[in-house]
Amino acid sequence: MTDDILSFEEAMEKYDPVLGFEVHVELNTATKMFDAAPNAFGDEANTNITPVSLGLPGVLPVVNGKAVESAIKLGLALGCDIAPVSHFARKNYFYPDTPKNFQTSQFDEPIAENGSIDIELEDGTVFTIDIERAHMEEDAGKLTHKGGAAGRIQGADFSLVDYNRSGVPLIEIVTRPIVGAGERSPELARAYVAAIREIVKNLGISDARMERGNVRCDANVSLMPKGTTEFGTRSETKNVNSLRSVERAVRYEIQRHAAVLDAGEKVVQETRHWHEDTRSTTSGRPKSDADDYRYFPEPDLVPVVTDAEWIERLRAELPEPPAERRRRLKADWGFSDEEFRDVVNAGAMDVIEETIAAGAPAAVARKWWMGEIARIAKEREVELTDTGATAQTVLELNKLIEAKKINDKIARQVLGFVIDGEGEPAEIVEKRGLAVVSDDGALTTAIDEALAAMPDVADKIRAGKVQAAGAIVGQVMKATRGQADAGRVRELILEKLGVEG
């Protein structure tokens, strides 16, 4: 079997990729899917457990109603039909992260089926991705392999298992095969997962933090020789857990499959593991359609019945879809395509919306968040909203500028102090004595001194060369350490010299 990969360009010349995704979303319900144990991340191992999460003898599952609501909401957001009656089933397999040695999932009767979403790529191209189903299930515990290399099970001396995650509610979203994305496939993969993450976050049903495994993607890739329509053998790359990795893994698998096919070999149907360090995948276990999980209806649970009234109530509660919201905000704010894309890419949309809602003009909000605050965020390597600046900060700074209490330059300094935790803008201006010098008396003295120091400039101004006043203004600003209102200084100079501005 060849380990080579083909260049992406060559792969694209010869083959059409077919993609498919299974995205697992961990819900942020207070308790687990079938159990009253807390659903919380990061706690001490094996503390968020009950006899039910451990699958002790005699325990029984009870469905978490909130999780069902979340599943319905997600189904609706993905344009799915919500099943009036759906069933849980047992997926039987032995593995120590699954305490019952079966996973309670949904098999042939999922809660949501037949949806689709539009995915917009950066340049505005839209792909429609068909959703086959979204079903409810429970997460497994977490295994940590000790001894041996890099936490891998191969060569490990022993493994530890933490059942805190065991039974956390999951929704698995399965797409239909995605054909026709061609060279945009890697980009589409990333955009799809980003869209799912955005949707679940917007619905408020998941914390949607990929680094915590709240959103996990299994990416299926196969290739068809150009001009053919029969799907090739697929590989399934498991748990690709960042947007960047999704894009890279799909690109890599396309290149790898192309090399295998070019060498006249057959792609092995298997799961693959993505390695961010080497940016490549390695073979996991062989997987075939003959994998026999011996599914059968879960006899300890009754069917999930959804009535139309419930569904309509949940539909009415759905927030505005992210894509629609973006279209609306762009129009409302009057930003250009490029300006708006920058805002979105910088993750500044929410905070700008908040700032505008607090009363700032759209241009002002954008100027601050995309300008000085973005600069500081970058410098300090934090998210915009983690800088300490808030919508209120921007609003106050703008008010101070409009009232001519401070100028732009001072305002940027004040922002720095706000971020350093010195307090609110007005408070800082007061404490540090940064208010613009508007005492004409004090300014007059400074102007007189400046004129006396530069008599030739004063003469030029008197002779009508109004633009020469800049030099005097500069001198005055310097003398007042920038705290003067430059416009007012200019007015006073012209007045003193009897010249019309």
């Binding site: 451990l54 699958g55 002790l56 003898p57 005699g58 029984l60 009870v62 059968f296 006899p299 300890d300």
Partner: protein, 529 residues
Amino acid sequence: MNNMLTLTAAEIAEKLTAGELTSVEVTQAFIDRIIATDGEALDADNRAAGKNGVNAYLHLNAEEALAVAKSVDEDRAAGKELPALAGVPIAVKDLIVTKGQPTTAASRMLEGWMSPYDGTVTQKVREARMPMLGKTNLDEFAMGSTTEHSAFGVTRNPWSLDRTPGGSSGGTLAALAAFQAPLALGTDTGGSVRQPAAFTGTVGMKPTYGSISRYGVIAMASSLDQVGPCARTVLDTALLHEVIAGHDPKDSTSLQTPVGSFADAARAGAAEGGLQGLRVGVIKELSGEGFQPGVLARFNESLELLKSAGAEIVEVSLPSVKEAIGAYYLIMSSEVSSNLAKYDGVRFGLRKLPEEGNVTIERVMGASRAAGFGAEAKRRIILGTYALSAGYYDAYYGSAQKVRTLIQRDYAKAFEVADVLVSPTAPTTAYKLGEKTKGDPMAMYMGDIATVPTNLAGVPSISLPGGLADEDGLPVGIQFTAPAHEDERLYRAGAGLEALLTEKWGGPLHQQMPDLETLIRDFNFEGAK
């Protein structure tokens, strides 16, 4: 034998309330009886050597039981209000989890395991202030009809020590027959309280599926399992049923319907004219061919008594019943294969390392399961795994579910013309030890022909003593079955027939029982091994 032992639970409760007895006295009397007639059964070595008495109990809970009894006596003396059965001792099948006592399911897999939580029925028993005498023996994980598949020795039938008490709740019903408890809890998946009740001359009730919580009952086959209240009389069974029934939010299959007035129904049935106008359907397929003559004789006698008391006897047919055993063994074993997957040596219970080669997780699981499960458990796990396999699912599990639907329809049709159905509980009297375990397991399975269909249909069913078979002098069981949610009808019919039979016998059936202590003294345990 201490006179207290033969009292019914209702009588004990009455005497406790009247101050004629204390709970400590009663509880101590049963503990003494257990020690005397389970013999050295509570000593593991003797048990393994077969040197025992009845061996109904796997664990004796004397200390805690007496402490509960004492607190009940104190509260009663202080004039506090107490639940109806407060102070009346009870035995619990070792398939039901209990905090503070071991729970083994009679399997090596769980030997020494202590549950950190109580099952819902256990909790209800505690709330009812009933001293728990201990945990009773069963076929491993309730799989079997003889209690010979226990990893901790067979339970013997108190009527004849070379016979099985039936199963899987053999320990539960043998304890009742041996006067080692006035009340006991069993579980019934395909007849597991009714058949041993029939074999031991006691009463076993399988309530409507979902009417008693299964939370904390170690699952065998989830869609069939139901906790069964057991006693020596129908009224006592009804009283216990009222204690343990009711909706439980921890069990999704638990019904929302209110608990019936079972004891009232039993009293009404036993009263003069209690059976007047009751339409009793005789199940054609379950009252003739393949049934022991002595069983049929007692059954027909009961029919005559029912008729004489004004009941209307009609014949009904359940044509799909002939497919019931096949369907049952597919559905049950499929669920078993999945329910028993959790016993893998990873989190609790027996862990066994492979004798040679690599210690990988798969091999540890394999070695633990190979060592922990007995032959019958393995047989059913393998059968169920096969039945659920891709390519076989439709033919086996799928078809079995269709048969289940047909059986449900048969019952619905029969209940159009009858209020209750009646049949012998089992085709035969108690098996000889070893009779059904050597050779073809189908022989044991066929003995469940009369009990299995009600579990498939989810309908309630009760077995009560119908007398002794002429050919072997062993108890015969009469089984009544009612539509779902109509458990009260069973108490009415059961108590009615019980009253007629008791009158005919001149006292309860157990008065005809040989003296157990004499049987034990004379029995050659060594030779019977």
